[in-house]
Amino acid sequence: MEDIKKAILDFAENSKKTKFYFSDMEKAVHKVLPDAKTRMIKKAATALINEEKLIYFSTGSSTMYGLKGRGQTEDH
């Protein structure tokens, strides 16, 4: 779990876009950890949300993830 969380944070810190879809994050984790299961990646992302390291960004119809403090983080 910790290695997946690290891979997610590495991607979130260095990705070109500050907001990304779950599948983009999943692909980035698979580059480092090819055997990581989707459900584990989701659990790791949820843990990072609960630790307030990642944030959700929702348009209402679809949802993206972002690194807290990177890109748009205020209300607007």
């Binding site: 879809y21 779950f22 599948s23 983009d24 989707t38 990646i41 989701k42 992302a45 949820t46 949300i49 609960n50 944030i55 959700y56 960004f57 929702s58 348009t59 209402g60 119809s61 679809s62 949802t63 972002g66 748009q72 983080t73 209300d75 607007h76």
Partner: protein, 473 residues
């Protein structure tokens, strides 16, 4: 089946939950309403009130007047939120473009759905709607609620939000329209800890599951839609609140093929109650219908004289598969040809009833027109037994399907579009279901099933290289 909550439910003390008195809620007269002027020009909106239908503008004006007369300490966001909303809408009508900005990082802690951020792009002119976030409240199964519960929800929203709501959104949720960011967590706390009410789904999540009235009131319901909706809502909490899907995903549960929640047109996964034995016939009641002793259609359409009931014209000739006939005054049905259109049962409910060996048909891929146009769902599993806790459906259908969609689905691609892109045969492979002739509309057109060698007894001897040597691709 009696309702068995998954966790203890406390009794709500509505007297303590209510915020407003009846006097506060009915704080204006019709005379005051007639003379009431919203503080902005809303002349174009007021045109909408002149049409033949009830107008939301009339409702909004009532809300605006009500808030104007409430005491200052009886609401936590600005009193003129509705007036500002109307003022901005008038400008949008004039400009022909929206002044809302959608989306953002607002939400409640730990949830990826249920709150949709919305902001005005004219905050200086309309400061009371600078934030105008939407919250979705997960409706109770079949939308049964106590009026005291509804009043408590309305009070909460009047106090911490705009007081404007949609009853209900198209997915079924109760929708709270318009509040400020700082009110989101207190509303969430009051909903969950006090009213024991969860938020609904939004974003790339499982959306709030929705069901018809089911066995609570309907004799045709072949499955307990409320129980199934409740069970799957609880079982898939993680999918409801923590988005990881390519896009939205909807479950809807219809108790019979009348499809009262229109699952066939609106759900990525439609559950429709059905039977696999025979339609039950009471021949005495058939005679009573034919003799005019029982009104057809349960007595509906009585506003006009349609003449005596003609079973041949009104039932038998309208059967889409022509599987009914009269024989010596008895109604006969070739049940294997019945496609569950429900017409005969609807017309003669006391004579005909669904069979007793009931279960569910499962269909996939319906959606509204966003990308590829509207799609109806595809009947993939004609019959499956459907008993709590529904493990056969969870393990053999839902989860393999989600694994495939999460693996192969593109961002913002609905299940129906993935089926269209990869083909019905791939869907069948994922679900481990053999193809059926009814799935093929006509040869060489979609959906078309390509057989693999292992599917054909004895395989085949032909070498594709030999064939290609004679036939260019």
């Amino acid at each position: 089946m009696a309702f068995e909550p998954r966790e203890d439910q406390k009794e709500l003390k509505y007297d303590e939950l209510r915020i407003y008195s009846d006097e506060e809620l009915n704080n204006y007269t019709e005379e005051e309403l007639k003379n009431f002027k919203v503080k902005h020009d809303i002349s174009m909106l007021e045109d909408l009130e002149s049409g033949p239908w009830p107008s939301f503008i009339a409702d909004a004006k009532r809300g605006a007047l009500h808030r104007r007369k409430l005491a200052d300490d009886r609401m936590l966001i600005e009193r003129d939120v509705i007036e500002d909303m109307l003022g901005q809408l008038q400008i949008s009508f004039k400009d022909g473009e929206t002044h809302w900005k959608h989306g953002g990082i607002v939400g409640v802690f730990g949830y990826g759905g249920g709150v949709i951020g919305r902001y005005s792009d004219l905050p200086d002119k309309f400061p009371s709607i600078a934030h105008f976030h939407t919250m979705r409240v997960n409706q109770p199964a079949s939308k049964f609620y106590h009026t005291d519960y509804l009043r408590s929800l309305c009070d909460l929203w009047e106090y911490r939000g705009s007081g404007m709501m949609n009853m209900h959104g198209s997915t079924g949720d109760i929708i709270f329209l318009g509040t400020f960011t700082e009110q989101l967590e207190p509303i969430f706390y009051d909903l969950t800890h006090i009213l024991q009410q969860d938020l609904g789904g939004s974003g790339s999540n499982l959306r709030t599951p929705s069901c018809c009235i089911g066995r609570a009131r309907c004799e045709w319901s072949c499955i307990d839609t409320q129980d199934m909706c409740y069970e799957l809502t609880h079982y898939y909490q993680d999918e409801l609140h923590r988005p990881a899907f390519p896009y939205k995903f909807k479950f809807k549960f219809d108790g019979c093929p009348n499809c009262c929640v229109a699952s066939i047109a609106r759900a990525d996964m439609s559950y429709i109650g059905t039977w696999r034995d025979e339609i039950r016939i009471d021949q005495e009641a058939v005679k009573a219908y034919m003799g005019g002793e029982i009104a057809p259609n349960g007595g509906a359409h009585k506003g006009r004289d349609w003449g005596p009931f003609d079973i041949q014209k009104e039932v038998i000739d309208l059967c889409p598969t022509k599987c009914m006939w009269l024989e010596d005054g008895k109604l006969m049905i070739d049940n294997k040809e019945c496609t569950r259109c429900m017409h005969c049962i609807n017309v003669m409910p006391r004579a005909l009833r669904p069979g007793e060996d009931t279960g569910v048909s499962i269909l996939f891929g319906a959606k509204a027109p966003i990308l590829e146009g509207a799609q109806m769902s595809l009947l993939t599993i004609p019959f499956m037994k459907c008993e709590p806790p529904y493990d056969n459906i969870k393990e053999n259908v839902i989860e393999p399907l989600w694994d495939w969609w999460m693996e192969e689905g593109k961002n913002r691609e609905r299940l129906g579009e993935l089926i269209q892109r990869q083909g019905v045969s791939k869907l069948l492979e994922v679900l481990n279901i053999p193809p059926m002739p009814q799935m093929v509309k006509e040869p060489r057109s979609n959906p078309y099933i390509f057989w693999k060698e292992e599917d054909v007894p004895g395989g085949w001897k032909r070498k594709i290289e030999d064939y290609r040597a004679r036939h260019a691709r």
